[in-house]
Amino acid sequence: MKPIEGKLRKGGRTPKKAMDPKRPTPTPDEGHWLQAEQSGQEELAEIMLARLVAQLPAIEPSAAFVDRAVQAAWRTRAHRRRVRVALVAAAALIAMAGVAAVYALAPFAMGLIASGAVVISHGLVWLVTSAGEGARWWWIAERIGTAVLDTISAPSAAAAIAAVEMILLLVIYAFRHVLGKDYEKRALEVKN
């Protein structure tokens, strides 16, 4: 069974139905909430319990509670104001620092960018020049190599080289033969 619909009023100490002459109105002598519970008188039981709970002694706060609560509320408000002011000040400070940093660092940044541009452009010029130089020396070496090869690979030049080589071989053989005879003669003289 559910509690009675709209049984309690907002402002009073007594449940609404208890004020209604058509409803059962418990009196102190009428009995007990638990008796009403046991006898299944739900409406009466609820009214009596409401009355019992309403009569429970209040737990009073300590004497200093009101002062403490008000001071805490005021402290909280003051703290919130301080925090808000600090946040606004911090935001303003950050914005100002940002603007100042842009103004202060702008020349330095521009100089840095210009220096970087100069270094990069010089580097490019050096690279291009070095590549040109390298290409030029490589071209000279290649020309020399080509001339040598052309000379060597010509039939007349090749025949001349072969003839020179043959002559050189014959000269070496002749020298060896002459020197060999002279060596044997000296060896016999030593033995005898």
């Binding site: 509690p3 009023r9 638990l34 019992l52 429970l56 002694p57 009073e60 509670f65 609560a69």
Partner: protein, 197 residues
């Protein structure tokens, strides 16, 4: 003769920077706030800290307060969030019956002087037992019971505070009542009450 301002007027003055106005608001709702928080976390000092945190948070969000709504309902929603956050972080287990009494978190029960001494004693004992039984039921049931029956908010307001459908709050109230009855019956209260006139 001091002028009594409505909650909405005090909120307006506090928004304009009046500390006395906010002090009046805090004074008005300090007891219900500490009462609810203590019943939720079962530690009075901690409950005061949570209530203080809720008042500070409420002050921070005072500009968002819709004056069509009752201030108490709006404030309890903040306190609910602060308390639930704490309970979720700490995973507070269900307390034993005697813990609160030992800790002195619960004040002695108030009794009517019109009753006989025996009836007064029984009522005080029942109130104490009910207080302790409240500590044993689920926190959401306890909160619904305290807000609805103790602070006398409507089911719709409690639903808004707890961010639940009204039907769920009604179910919580029903189950809370049944659990409380079960706990107290197990302690023999039904037999005692049966003997009472």
């Amino acid at each position: 003769m001091p002028v009594t301002y409505t909650d909405a007027e005090l909120v307006q003055q506090a928004l304009a920077g009046s500390q006395p106005a906010y002090r009046d608001l805090v004074s008005r709702y300090a007891t219900p706030a500490v009462n609810l928080a203590t019943r939720m976390v079962r530690d009075r000092a901690l409950a005061e800290d949570l209530a203080q945190e809720a008042f500070a948070r409420a002050f921070e969000r005072l500009a968002t307060y819709d004056q069509q709504r009752r201030f108490v309902s709006w404030f309890f929603q903040i306190l609910h969030n602060v308390t639930i956050d704490y309970l979720r972080r700490k995973h507070i287990p269900t307390v034993s019956l005697d813990d609160l009494q030992k800790a002195g978190a619960l004040p002695p029960a108030a009794v009517s002087t019109a009753d006989s001494p025996e009836a007064q004693a029984e009522k005080a004992a029942l109130a104490r037992a009910l207080d302790l039984a409240l500590a044993r039921i689920r926190p959401e049931y306890r909160e619904a019971v305290v807000l609805c029956y103790r602070e006398e908010l409507s089911v719709e307001e409690v639903a808004e505070i707890m961010s639940l459908p009204s039907g769920t709050v009604k179910t919580y109230l029903f189950r809370a009542r049944k659990e409380l009855a079960k706990i107290l019956s197990a302690q023999g209260w039904s037999k005692i009450s049966a003997r009472s006139p």
